[in-house]
């Protein structure tokens, strides 16, 4: 009874926030629910099959793809887009369903596994991101591995080419290890399992302690991050009895098209070295806007901009903006690439002629503001 009442109040709070305060109202219900009923996640998970998706990059789009697959099997609830902390999870679970596909933040995954007891957890990748909050990649990986070990009923599916993902897969009682033929990892110099210098042979690693991306349960061709995530969604869906869907890389990239006074803009989310490097490969045109912010979810420090090679931007028309526009302007300057610095996105996009196609690579908060507007 108390749970039902808490849900009612949480929903009321959500609609107040949405209709009166004009906020998105996505996380408020979950926040209120957890405050009123701290065990809500475990209670609400009991009656359904939970599937979690976590990783540094690609959580939102992979969750969406997986929802499409699972919805053929039964009713599904899912997290509000990008809302992946415990409150987002709680919000998703307030609605009744047979399945719930939840996008879960890397650091919140342990709690969600303990409380929601998922049937399956899909681990996409783990690379340096928001180090002010994550502190160390290895710290997050260790938490994943401990959670995997402590959840023998749960099937862990993941990309074994990422040694940090493999650490969790190797710790799990039930795992389905996927490989895309191996891939270099920016943070892969040290074995996350035993701490020695990790032995790489081209794109494959094989440590003396046994950690390896070889001999996986499934082997696919190599491809873009979007393709890998879609494939992992398909594999997960199939293991749960669903049918694979066609892979549409474009729709899976976190990219959105908008028009600003006749200027066509393709907006893409870029938030860490791995996602920037991936996004830079898609910059085919000459006109580019880069937006760098430094709020909590963006990462409050910008040192990581120096981990990225921006060489592909050389010779293009580049305008930068955002709270830390100067940081990226100077980083590019040192790489020999000159840009124009503007105060905000409106003035950045106005620098381009009507009819031009502009690639906009945007920090997390900037991307969401532009998409919502």
């Amino acid at each position: 009874m108390r749970l039902k009442l808490s849900i009612l109040l949480a929903k009321l709070a959500g609609s107040l926030s949405k209709n009166v305060l004009r906020k998105s109202g996505e996380t408020i219900p979950g926040r209120v629910l957890l405050a009123l009923y701290p065990k809500a996640i475990s209670e609400l998970s009991k009656s359904r099959k939970i599937i979690c998706v976590s990783g540094t990059n690609g959580k939102t789009s992979t969750t969406k793809a997986l929802v499409t697959i699972i919805s053929k099997l039964g009713t599904v609830t899912t997290s509000p887009s990008g809302s992946n902390l415990d409150r987002g999870v709680a919000t998703a679970l307030m609605q009744k369903s047979e399945y719930a596909v939840l996008e879960v933040d890397e650091l919140h995954l342990s709690r969600v596994i303990t409380e929601a007891k998922p049937v399956a957890v899909l681990l996409l990748n783990l690379t340096r991101d928001q180090l002010h909050r994550m502190h160390e990649v290895k710290r997050v990986a260790d938490r994943w591995a401990v959670s995997a070990k402590g959840a023998p009923e749960t099937l862990f599916i993941g990309d074994a080419d990422d040694p940090f993902v493999e650490l969790a897969l190797a710790a799990a009682a039930q795992s389905h290890r996927v490989s895309f033929g191996g891939r270099k990892h920016l943070d892969g110099a040290v074995c996350p399992s035993c701490g020695i210098y990790l032995k790489w042979n081209r794109n494959d690693y094989k440590c003396a302690c046994g950690l390896t991306n070889l001999n996986t349960d499934a082997l696919f061709d190599s491809g873009s991050a979007a393709y890998r995530n879609a494939t992992l969604a398909n594999v997960t869906g199939q293991l749960l009895g669903g049918k694979a869907i066609a892979i549409d890389e474009q729709s899976l990239e976190r990219s959105v098209n908008r028009e600003y006074n006749g200027v066509k803009a393709n907006l893409r989310l870029t938030k860490n070295p791995a996602s920037w490097t991936e996004a830079l490969t898609s910059v085919t045109g000459n006109d580019v806007v880069l937006i760098v912010n430094s709020r909590e979810v963006d990462g409050i420090d910008t040192s990581w901009l120096w981990d990225i090679s921006f060489a592909v931007l050389s010779g293009k028309n580049i305008v930068v903006c955002g709270e830390r526009g100067l940081d990226i302007a100077y980083r590019l300057h040192v790489e020999g690439i000159e840009v124009e610095v503007t105060n905000n996105f409106e003035s950045a996009i106005s620098k381009f002629a009507k009819g031009s196609h502009v690639h906009v690579l945007a920090a997390y908060t900037a991307f969401h503001e532009l998409v919502r507007a």
Binding site: L131, E136, K138, V190, D301, S303, Y330, H333, V334
Partner: protein, 234 residues
């Protein structure tokens, strides 16, 4: 000397916090002075070059820090560093790298002997120190800004002098001082990377490495960036 060799030590291990940019900024600033540079990336299994002019170490996670230490203690590497110091070469060591060149530090819950190039010891603190940091450098006499993200508390011995006096942030953990300096050996907790955020410090390192004074560089963007960060970090 119109050519210098910048040695980036174990970037694959000590490159977690963006400090590899220090080498790029040095090379970039050097160009203004008419100095040609070579950046030499030293891998875990490579010997250190004997003729480097500036040796750089960056921040790392614990396991990587221990591997880097082990590699630097291997073969002739430590002698090469001692000889480099005698020659007047510059060492800039950030965060985990700073701890490595000290006498002792902690990693993965154990105390280990460092390289002993700087008279400091580092011990783990009770909470991680994360955020913007501003100091006034005792050596340079001007403000430096950066970003710190570490558990370590560093205690200076009698043979080392603090690198900076903390204005904002924590530095060595006491909120009073950051880093340590001895001759041309610099240790600090400041990421950013520190030389990107404080290009005048890069110039000083180039002067120290070559023994030559250089004219002031006119690079408006560098100046704008550095002074803006100094202004916003109160």
């Amino acid at each position: 000397m119109s050519q210098i060799r910048i040695v980036r030590i174990h970037n694959e291990l000590l490159g977690t916090y963006g400090d590899q940019g220090n080498a790029e900024v040095l090379a970039f600033r050097a160009k203004f002075h008419g100095i040609t540079t070579t950046i030499i990336d030293v891998g875990y299994n490579d010997p250190l070059p004997t003729n480097g002019d500036i040796y750089l170490l960056g921040g790392a996670e614990d396991a990587a820090q221990l591997l880097s230490l082990e590699a630097l203690q291997r073969d002739d590497n430590l002698n090469i560093l001692h000889f480099a110091i005698e020659r007047g070469a510059v060492i800039l060591a950030v965060c985990a790298g700073f701890q490595i060149i000290g006498n002792k530090f902690w990693a993965n819950g154990q105390e280990v002997d460092g390289l002993g190039l700087l008279d400091v010891i580092s011990v783990p603190g009770d909470k991680r120190l994360v955020g913007d940091i501003k100091t006034i450098s005792t050596v340079l006499g001007f403000e430096l800004t950066g970003f710190e993200n570490h558990m370590g508390r560093t205690i200076l011995g009698s043979g080392a002098e603090a690198f900076g006096k903390v204005v904002t942030g924590n530095g060595n953990g006491d909120s009073k001082f950051d880093g340590a300096v001895l001759g041309n050996i610099f240790g600090t907790y400041m990421h950013g990377p520190i030389l990107a955020r404080n290009p005048e410090f890069a110039d000083l390192l180039l002067t120290r490495a070559t023994g030559r004074k250089y004219a002031q560089i006119t690079d408006p963007l560098a100046l704008k960036y550095a002074s803006w960060r100094r202004k916003v970090i109160k």
